[in-house]
Subunit: 420 residues, 2 copies
């Protein structure tokens, strides 16, 4: 028996990696004053069909009819849920809202390499402020998020763009506003498609490929100036690059859009987001007219990038090592002392140590083996000498004899042995 | 727009409570050397229909046919997934396995007070050891889990039982083994049903209600003796009570079963589990014949109990307060100093502080109001005196002037202001 295609089993070693990832996500978001929320895994399918929220996501909706004859769907992304929640309760919170979510999302995509049907996503949104200062806060958060994994500006760049610039471009070329979405989809895909294909798609718009290419190649995007000088003041200017080639795929973006792009290994987008100043009003029929900006990152692509960048991989490995399942292993050298071992293990656990011991009678050598494979730093040996115990540091086999009543004080002094 | 019936929106204040809960779950499990795993939210429905895994859960399965014509179901519990994963890979891990999971589960139940269709569950399982020492480790973990919320033996008791004792009882009354499940369901429900109803259900078994009642009232369960003396050695004997009235509802339990029962407020089961020595072999057609014991706790019932017990509520409140969204608020008293404020906020964040500042020009008084409502401990005021700043402790309005370059050292000395 296996998981369904596109779904993952996370064995403890896989979970530990994800947990490291999620820990960095949460830690960074909280440093920016963001608070976490969550919504249901299952929503009414209508939430995703509403104007502007969909795009290509609709075709991949994991939907079904429930036993109560409701059309429901596993959430393909969290933004519509966020919009629904904020529309319902935004009057209860001071603005701007700084909210984030770490949640599992689902897309029924055709099975292909690396495409999952269930994946974990980090979403971060700032609502109720339409200024470039808010844009800068989000871009800075994304930069620090990636830096928290040990990634540098050699490893990624944030490509910054503004859909407003594209609306101006379309206006100059006499294309009506209603066709902007269709046009931006062409721009979004052009990097990954042969030029002929893009050219063909442009025909109905009457725009020559060369005009498009020369617009994309502009190094300056005047509307981004306030955002760039804010980032400059933060010392983060080196992490971003204005780039009109970025427009993002989702239909609901309105202004600034951005994407973190990997400069190492497999070159690709690793996170993206943008301003969606009309989505809340649209989803709430005008009752919550809040400007908003947000971005999302998936777990799979980030884990892949960490694997490809040596410094990030090293940082991950030492974090995982420091977070070992067991810190102190109690070796029971004389079975008749088991009750003492039980009492001691409870005492150490109540002091916050991660403690294990053999559940049955076992050779001392085997117990030391278990201690090491569980990542323990210390072994406390309980034998005939009880209430005197031996404390053994597993890294260098250094050994001390102690009265059991002095053990807690000794551990207190050697607290650095207790990771995290 | 609302969530679907039986589904919850977790606004930041709700999420913070859940996060406190999950933090205690994880912390306690890890002190016992347990490691976390996770599986897919969606599984093949067949996994739940297999022999022994079902019981009443089957009728509440949140199932549907996916676009690939597969019969699938949102997981109603995690144990079948665990069994599937362990069957696939148990040879890769030393025994016993100590695994836990915090996962969202789904049951399509008729809507009633407090019954949710999506809920969070903590599951903890020890696999590969059938000894009473393993049973004791799990019961101790459950006790410490509840104690981690500030609950005491005045607030809950672990009722301990053993299905083996019931099998002996049935044997004495000439009831064949195949009917044990049906019979145990009667025992499981008898506390919550009128005696007449139980009596009626017993007719087909030819067992008088009085015989059942007198068996349940036995204070001693000889087979529990080793487990009890292990708990005694740990100093946990006062938290448990042998009680044959507990049999648990799930079909797959085989030996020791237990349930944490609230002694305060609304008297009810708050967690439960037991030994399921045959489930893995059954689910894996014999390829993974591992004995196992585990338990589960849901989030809703535990949050309710914490609300009812004053000491637990106080502990929760102070944990939430200590975990405020913002620690340092940067007050911008002179708008032209914003670049300095931006640089300082990035510096403090990179030191691990949770920092916020106004995104636009605001009155200083309003900024202090925002700082306080976000739970900040300190305000750093940046004004015309820059690079001299004012540090203000919000609790007692104590104020100091500092050169900005000395700020980090000052914070280092006052590190206790930075809650976890």
């Amino acid at each position: 028996m296996k998981p369904l295609p596109g779904f993952r089993d996370l064995f403890p070693e896989d979970f530990a990696r994800r947990s490291y990832l999620v820990g960095c996500w949460r830690e960074t978001a909280r440093r920016y004053g963001f608070v976490e929320f969550d919504g249901p895994t299952l929503e009414s399918a209508e939430l995703y069909r509403k104007k502007n929220s969909g795009g290509e996501i609709l075709g991949q909706l994991y939907g079904f009819t429930d036993k109560g004859e409701r059309e429901v769907a596993l959430r393909p992304e969290v933004t519509p849920t966020l919009a629904r929640m904020v529309a319902a309760r935004h009057r209860d919170y001071p603005k701007p809202l700084r909210w984030f979510n770490v949640g599992t999302c689902f897309r029924y995509e055709r099975q292909q390499r690396g495409r999952l049907r269930e994946f974990l996503q980090f979403n971060c949104d700032l609502l109720g402020d339409s200024s470039p200062a808010a844009d800068a806060e989000m871009v800075a958060l994304l930069i620090d998020l990636l830096r928290s994994f040990g990634l540098t500006n050699q490893d990624f760049v944030i490509r910054l763009s503004n859909r407003e610039a594209w609306y101006d471009f379309l206006d100059e070329h006499g294309v009506e506003k209603g066709r902007a979405g269709e046009f931006l989809n062409i721009v979004d895909k052009m990097e990954r498609e042969p030029a002929e294909k893009t050219e063909e798609k442009l025909v109905p718009f009457g725009i020559p490929l060369a005009a498009l290419q020369s617009f994309v190649q502009r190094a300056e995007i005047p509307s981004l100036a306030p955002l760039l000088s804010d980032l400059e003041a933060r010392g983060l200017r080196d992490f971003v690059r204005p780039d009109l080639g970025v427009v993002r795929g989702l239909a609901y973006y309105t202004g600034v859009v951005f994407e973190a792009f990997a400069l190492q290994g497999n070159l690709r987008a690793i996170a993206g987001g943008g301003r969606y100043d009309r989505l809340l009003a649209d989803l709430s029929d005008g009752s919550a007219d809040l400007p908003a900006i947000g971005f999302g990152v998936g777990d799979a692509v980030l884990l892949e990038l960490i694997n490809e960048v040596a410094a990030a991989k090293t940082q991950e490995e030492s974090a995982l090592k420091a977070d070992a399942p067991v810190q102190i292993y109690i070796v029971i050298a004389a079975e008749e002392k088991r009750p003492a071992a039980l009492a001691l293990s409870q005492k150490l656990r109540s002091e916050g140590w991660r403690v294990a011991f053999p559940l049955g009678s076992e050779r001392v050598g085997k117990q030391f083996g278990t201690a090491e494979s569980a990542g323990a730093t210390l072994a406390v040996v309980i034998g005939a000498e009880w209430p005197v115990v031996k404390v053994k540091r597993l890294a260098d086999r250094h050994e001390e004899e102690l009265a059991e009543r002095d053990l807690l004080a000794w551990l207190q002094e050697n607290r650095n042995l207790k990771a995290d």
